[in-house]
């Protein structure tokens, strides 16, 4: 009855075309990028303006339905999954770049703009949008803000929250407010900092003013090849300790290298135990100096060979290996589970060893393909779900690896978020009081408790009763990479 009322009212506000409610329509919105959880929303709306978002939100709140914002749905923590039913708001139609100001190096965009589309449009002015999650060809700027996404180049340039200046936010009662400002240091609490990364629990972003970054004068890319994973991990620390902040410092280890090589032909030696993809950018004299230092540090750390991409084509080829990693590893085993944790950089060798031990203990394969320079690991557990008990082993191994991250002074998510997947782990890092302060903040924005309820914070009902019946692996599209 109320669902019917919801649908009728939404159709009145948005037109029936943009209110999806048939089973076959809703099925497309059951998953996120991980496919670990699955649930069907009551309705999906695809609004075409802030006013329509506001009307839809006010309606759902009034009728007591959960509201879940959705960009491209590539999130990996289940935060766009409608586990309690409710209304999914797809921001797909709000996909316009409204303005690029080359002078101020800012852009005004709608949330549904795809990440790479913004950088492509900004390229004409020698600018780009720095956050570059590996899903950047499909994920949206709104989703990046919702999850505070990172990416390879966030090592030097910072994550999404460092690049969002202001947003238009629809609150749970349908009120529309501007949060933040393109003007520096405006008085008032920095509410924007709380909203970025809030996984749709504080409001729906319908417009963003973001900072663009000037393209560097010079770029240099290296591939450092290692016979030992821990030596490679120590080399990462040594580079940072030498005072170099590369633009990107990525690592691939283990069986992944051979798999990638046979898939992408990036020139990675299949017998290597680990490779580092190192990119530096900046002014040409600085780059020449850093290139020398990187060569010195890599050699001193025991790197077998250091290759330098001498032109754009070679650089692309090296990156193609990194970018094809996920698709390539999918050939090792039919199913996977991507983990995301962060450790202090100096603890990388240790955590890599630990994750290998844990995976072995649970009889799973693990490949690490990750943002090493940030200490942000992504152990990729590989398995075959047709073998009974595999899901449970994968979940247990994942939890144990994240627990190890915490034990060495790290945290349970570097960039993918908490969502459903990790909310039960929050007490590992936050006390009851810490969590109560988070809950206060959430109540301030959403007193009705309708914005993506149950996500991000643990709650008595939160221990996931959901079990995906579909295989873990979902097609993430050609060229998808973690």
């Amino acid at each position: 009855m109320t669902r019917e009322m919801l649908i009728t009212t939404l159709r009145h506000h948005l037109g029936s075309r943009y209110v999806l409610h048939r089973r076959e329509e809703l099925m497309l919105y059951e998953y996120d990028g991980s496919a670990m959880d699955q649930a069907m929303p009551d309705v999906v709306v695809v609004p075409g303006s802030t006013a329509e978002v506001a009307a839809a939100v006010a309606t759902a709140t009034r009728l007591g339905f959960p509201i879940i914002a959705r960009g491209a749905g590539t999130g990996l923590a289940g935060s766009t999954v409608a586990e309690r039913g409710g209304m999914v708001i797809s921001l797909a139609r709000l996909n316009q770049i409204l303005q690029i100001d080359p002078q101020a190096a800012t852009a005004v965009v709608q949330p549904g703009v795809v990440n790479t589309d913004l950088s492509r449009a900004a390229a004409a002015y020698g600018l780009h949008f720095a956050p570059d999650p590996s899903s950047q060809r499909s994920c949206t700027i709104g989703g990046n803000a919702g999850s505070n996404a990172g990416g390879p180049h966030c090592l030097k340039y910072g994550v999404t929250s460092n690049h969002v200046l202001a947003i238009t936010l629809v609150l749970s009662d349908g009120q529309v407010v501007r949060v933040g400002s393109a003007v520096s240091d405006t008085p008032g609490y920095d509410l924007l900092a709380a909203v970025v990364g809030s996984e749709g629990t504080l409001g729906i972003i319908t417009e963003l003013t973001v900072r663009l970054t000037r393209n560097a004068e010079d770029v240099r890319t290296f591939l450092a090849i290692f016979d030992d994973m821990e030596v490679a991990g120590a080399c990462v620390s040594a580079i940072i300790a030498d005072g170099i902040i590369p633009a990107a410092l990525e690592m691939i280890e283990g069986e992944g290298i051979a798999a990638i090589e046979s898939w992408a032909h990036a020139g990675y030696p299949p017998d290597a135990r680990a490779v580092l993809l190192i990119e530096i950018d900046g002014l040409r004299e600085d780059i020449a100096d850093e290139a020398r230092r990187i060569a010195r540090v890599c050699t001193a750390s025991g790197c077998r060979e250091l290759r330098t991409a001498s032109d754009a084509a070679q650089r692309e080829r090296l990156w193609a290996g990194r970018k094809g990693a996920l698709a390539a590893c999918a050939r090792i085993a039919p199913h996977y589970h991507i983990l995301d944790g962060t450790v202090p950089r100096s603890r990388l060798p240790e955590i890599l060893r630990r994750s290998a031990e844990i995976a072995a203990h649970y009889d799973l394969k693990v490949v690490n393909i990750f943002h090493a320079g940030d200490g942000n690991i992504h152990p990729l557990l590989l398995f075959d779900l047709r073998v009974p008990g595999t899901r449970e082993r994968a979940m247990a191994a994942g939890a144990e690896i994240l627990r190890s991250c915490v034990e060495v002074g790290g945290t349970i998510s570097g960039e993918h978020g908490i969502g459903i997947e990790k909310r039960a782990f929050m007490p590992w890092i936050y006390s009851v009081e810490d969590q109560s302060a988070f809950a206060d903040l959430r109540n301030v924005f959403d007193p009705a408790g309708v914005m993506n309820p149950g996500k991000l914070l643990p709650s008595p009902t939160s221990h996931s009763s959901l079990h995906a019946t579909e295989p873990l692996l979902r097609m993430t599209g050609r060229g998808a990479w973690i």
Partner: protein, 420 residues
């Protein structure tokens, strides 16, 4: 001078805890008893926010000054909020690292006080603001809950970034007890160019060019003649005493990259008719300390003005014309790249100041800018018609108020000093 005297008001109690738990206990008790608390660091920025509505307890935070963790190889530092920034910088310098943050009076000012008051400096052009460098915080909320957010690693999305809410909140949500920063390697070389221009048009043109590639300045500030004269170190480099507008621009990196930028910047400035002085590397540190300290409290009124980068010229026109029409001498500073200007107005009759501030705000409103009082001298406080220190509130004021209500329910923290 009486310690913890604030606009001639004295606290009835002074508490100097040495642990975060003790800070939380103080706040819990104060909340229960309704005692107004003024947190104190080095006191360098107590002129922000003006006189409190009530003042019972001075909370001296300097006892929480320990360095709790520092792993140079990880570029991460965890420190008590009562440590001075200068102390931290000395520690980091021993490992050839720094926190690229240069607010005024670093040897007196504490980390907690600087963050709470939203202090920044000229380095924000190259390195962003402390918001970008703060990884985690522990805070005693007004009601006595001791909470943390963030993590001691450079990348973390677990939980809300509530620590950033305390930056610039003037301690009205909680008292910062501990901060974890990401720190940076110190650049191999830093060098500064001074350039004296005779017209606002030419200096703005040069600023515009030097703000674009291939230049990557880490700091660029403009000072009017009066401001440059007020800075003895800066002034000592300027041989010509005729009225000029001064640009100070600083580059960092390898000698090659710095040298090329200095040479190219000289060419740009000369092209605009400027007289340039290349400082030696040894003078680089002292000149920027002196420029940062220019914005310390004095007995004059210090105003901070912000505007969109696309409207900096209009902003400068406004901040110049309003005091000029009144015949007031003013020191003016522009922090390029941030669209921020700092103005020092003399202490004149209050109605005149009120009127000038209203006019400034009206002009700024037209270009999307704002003005706040960064430092209110005692002579202008405690009057019946006080200056509006913060200007019109943001449209999210209601949200801010509800947040304050849950974290500082008894409204004991810096009452009456913030816009929320």
């Amino acid at each position: 001078m009486t310690p913890f005297l604030l606009y001639n008001q004295q606290p009835t109690q002074i508490v100097a805890p040495t642990s975060a738990e003790a800070v939380a206990d103080v706040l819990r008790d104060a909340s229960a008893q309704g005692l107004a608390v003024i947190p104190w660091g080095g006191g360098t920025r107590q002129g922000m926010g003006g006189p409190p509505l009530r003042y019972d307890l001075a909370l001296d935070m300097r006892g929480l000054a320990a360095v709790l963790a520092y792993t140079p190889d990880d570029l991460v530092l965890r420190v008590g909020a009562g440590a001075t920034l200068g102390h931290i910088q000395d520690l980091l310098a021993a490992h050839n690292q720094w926190l690229p943050w240069n607010p005024p009076l670093p040897d007196q000012a504490t980390i907690g006080g600087l963050l709470a008051s939203g202090a920044t400096g000229s380095l924000r052009m190259g390195y962003g603001t402390p918001r970008d460098w703060t990884l985690a915080m522990q805070v005693a909320l007004g009601d006595g809950r001791l909470v943390k957010s963030g993590a001691p690693v450079v990348k973390n999305v677990a939980g809300y970034d509530t620590h950033k809410l305390h930056i610039g909140a003037l301690g009205t949500l909680g008292v910062i007890t501990e901060v974890t920063f990401k720190v940076a390697p110190r650049p191999a070389h830093c060098q500064t160019l001074l350039a004296a221009f005779s017209s606002p048009l030419t200096i703005l043109e040069a600023m515009q060019q030097i703000g674009q590639p291939p230049f990557q300045p880490i700091s660029l500030v403009l000072l009017n003649h009066s401001a440059s004269k007020a800075n003895p170190i800066l002034h000592s480099f300027l041989d010509d005493t005729s009225p000029h507008l001064i640009m100070a621009v600083r580059f960092a990196g390898t000698a090659g990259a710095v040298g090329r930028q200095i040479r190219t910047a000289v060419a740009v400035c000369v092209e605009q008719g400027a007289h340039t002085i290349e400082l030696s590397e040894t003078d680089d540190g002292s000149i920027w300390h002196a420029i940062a300290d220019d914005l310390r409290p004095t007995d004059q009124l210090l105003i901070r003005v912000g505007a969109p980068l696309s409207h900096v010229r209009e902003m400068l026109r406004l901040v110049e014309s309003i005091p000029y029409q009144r015949g007031w001498p003013t020191d003016r500073y522009l922090i390029a790249g941030a669209g921020l200007a700092y103005l020092r107005w003399p202490v004149v009759a209050l109605p005149d100041l009120l009127q000038a501030l209203t006019e400034l705000r009206a002009g700024l409103a037209g270009i999307g800018g704002y003005a706040v009082v960064e430092d209110l001298p005692v002579a202008l406080a405690n009057t019946d018609s006080p200056l509006d220190l913060w200007g019109p509130p943001p449209e999210t004021l209601a949200l801010m108020r509800s947040l304050r209500k849950v974290w500082d329910p008894a409204e004991i923290l810096n009452p009456g000093r913030y816009l929320v």
